[in-house]
Symmetry: C3
Subunit: 209 residues, 3 copies
């Protein structure tokens, strides 16, 4: 049956996309590809006050990388920042021409509470190269995208970078959020992805693949 074959092909394609890290699009911020969070605003401290101190190394909390890792969609696989505004700064796997940003939150069907989702966001990028992590040169930060994460849309939302030629190559990305969806105590970032392409025809080689 022709419809049957066509449906089967459509199903296989959608499942393959899901099996390819959910979106089937290259992500230069994924932790397993070598990217990492290098700086962030205060983490949410949860139940114990010493939770912060023993889990921080080089100023970065051990949960920070959760926002660069996939999960089964269960609640809690996120990095919680204190308050309703804050930032995370990510060093990408490689210097790229940035094309789009994807921000994800837990799906409505399994969420206990989605008030902790970020709302008004700005993403900037710059090229840092071999400079020490702590030196952020404000003049070099280029605005890449400005968007609102909308709880009524799908849980993974992709925003194109405006003016992809303006920033040149970037290897550092910063997400600033100035509001969330109502939670006064914390904001949770489930996953942030950075899509784009490397400028060289010989793709850069890294530790794993």
């Amino acid at each position: 049956d022709e419809i049957r074959a066509s449906a089967r092909e459509m199903i296989e394609r959608e499942i393959q996309k899901h099996a390819a890290d959910g979106l089937g699009r290259v992500d230069y911020a994924v932790a397993s590809g070598g990217a990492m969070v290098v700086k962030h605003s205060d983490p949410y401290r949860g139940r114990t006050s010493n939770w912060f101190l023993k889990n921080v190394r080089n100023g970065v909390h051990s949960d920070a990388d959760k926002l660069l890792k996939p999960s089964f969609g269960e609640p809690g696989q996120c990095f919680a920042l204190k308050g309703s505004s804050g930032f995370v700064q990510i060093r990408l796997r490689a210097a790229i021409v940035p094309e789009a940003i994807t921000l994800e939150h837990v799906a409505k069907s399994v969420a206990f509470d989605r008030t902790s989702a970020p709302k008004d966001c700005r993403v900037s990028g710059w090229f840092q190269g071999k400079n020490p992590n702590s030196a952020i040169n404000g003049e070099k930060m280029f605005p890449l995208a400005k968007f609102t994460y909308d709880l009524e849309k799908s849980n993974a939302q992709t925003f194109d970078v405006v003016d992809t030629t303006g920033s040149g190559l970037v290897d550092m990305i910063r997400l600033d959020f100035s509001s969330n969806h109502g939670n006064p105590s914390h904001t949770c970032i489930y996953r942030m992805r950075v899509h784009g392409h490397e400028p060289y025809s010989v793709s850069m080689m890294a530790i794993q693949s």
Copy 2:
């Protein structure tokens, strides 16, 4: 083509449900949401006899939380209890009005052997609040569900709680199984979920989302 668009929408919806922790239903027993196993019958000791001793903390084996975590469906992502009868006791993320219980086992297509699946099961719940873990007040345990896990049905089976008003709020759940599907040495619990809703309109906030 209208059929094509309709099929595509159906596929997306089913994949989204799968991507939302497999069932797309809130689970108050998921480990990443703050729930934990607090007590259980003897673990299966496997190959080495000291395996039990070095992996137990506060009376709970380090593998116990596997039954509160999702997986890719591969065999072995379970907690093995000794014998064909036993129990696990779970402290939920929050006090809820319980609505249903889901019990999962490895799928037939990838299983080496499904004789270790639990069979006749009873689930009880009660409210413990801030009382010490070890004090189980038998008078307060309410029967929530009684069921048989059926190897011929789908590998995730959901059983409604009878009389959802009877138990009041529960924050502790106990699964007792009195038989399994034939394995004399051990019974494996792959995942147990507890569905329901919190009584307050302002949902309770926890460490991560």
Copy 3:
């Protein structure tokens, strides 16, 4: 609508297969089932030279088991071997009659670079039983399959074992690759599976399920 019901059934079946460790076929090499890598050629050293030394125990690198574990399809969940030729040796969960081998690499849509995929491969098997790991008896190694991993085909490729009666039972598998898809420095193995069946009617019991 009949087409709707038929489509829904097809979708559920495909998602169930995906939810059953991706392929819905028993894998005697999966790490969670008790299999393990016991020997391999030189790992790729990546950025630091002491990375090799501190991550090796009993001659096996700590990343080796990645090739016996599922993932979300994100790049990097693999074991990287030095150069464009090498081998891995796997002790299976149990002695089986081998039927097929599946080799997987990261999907094209999310890969940074697929030149590190293995190309010309040979798989051999033998029965080792309780002999010490290090003693490989060359006379006992049976050729099971010989194939080329093709970057234009789907990312999981299954190859039937020729002459399933010739090898008898095997509990040790060796993958030798003599070329990759162009990367001079390393070759990444994402996942290798070994399909077959156990000879006894009472399936063998192991630690977990």
